[in-house]
Symmetry: C2
Subunit: 151 residues, 2 copies
């Protein structure tokens, strides 16, 4: 089902002649994997940064937010990826997949950033389930958020 969402994102971007990239923390590459999974993806997907370590968020994406699990961090990751990758749209994910809480935020706390032509918006989610379910839910929410923007 998430692969279908990625295919719909690809088709919507293709119709608009636009491109997408991503910056991932808790999803760890799974979102890029989905965006690149559709045959012909190279026409719309430029690439992504998996900024798992805090120093990669800072040094590669230019994140200055004090807390990794925060709306500010998701916003700066999305904006940084859009700039670095030279894309029209960038999706960012940060949050707590577990098993341990982080920055005093409970497992399942997720922020999704969407950077586009009109700026950056951030969604805050609370997801249930284990580590794999939370990562998958974050990917699905990011793709749905972009589809909403693409109309």
């Amino acid at each position: 089902m998430t692969a279908d969402l990625a295919a719909r994102v690809h088709q919507a971007l293709l119709a608009r002649g636009e491109t997408v990239g991503c910056a991932e923390s808790l999803t760890g590459g799974a979102l890029a994997d989905l965006l690149s999974g559709t045959p012909g993806a190279s026409a719309t997907f430029a690439g992504g940064i998996v900024s798992y370590a805090t120093r990669v968020k800072r040094d590669v994406l230019g994140v200055t937010a004090a807390q990794v699990v925060s709306a500010d961090c998701a916003s700066q990751m999305a904006a940084g990826a859009k700039r670095l990758l030279g894309v029209d749209w960038a999706l960012a994910t940060t949050g707590v997949a577990g098993p341990e809480k982080q920055d005093d935020k409970p497992v399942g706390t997720v922020y999704v950033g969407v950077a586009g032509p009109r700026g950056v918006q951030v969604l805050r989610l609370t997801l249930d389930g284990d580590r794999a379910a939370i990562r998958a839910g974050a990917c699905r929410s990011a793709l749905e958020a972009l589809l909403d923007e693409l109309g």
Copy 2:
């Protein structure tokens, strides 16, 4: 099975106090997804660059190789990721997942780069199967190559 390989990589790196990152083209984020999938992965996995577009390989990773599907490109991607991510080991994947051939190389042609303390080595593979099987096979080969290095 590939998740087990990733868990073994994590354990081997943990025992040595070393870190890993990656640079991916045809695997599109799937290798980072595996490396970050093990609980506690943040102790050994710093992050990755999904350089799907040629300009991302060039601008973010510093690749100058004329052909994307080549040993030179895999080598430069691995070295670029090691430098950019500040890790002890970096894995790189480039090749043709299909459905179309690329750079006159047939579907299934894959190069895996491994950058480590003693330099960079490149493996050339010819993988069978469809797009998903070739991407999965490239991930597995990259993890096995690193496990070989880690002894």
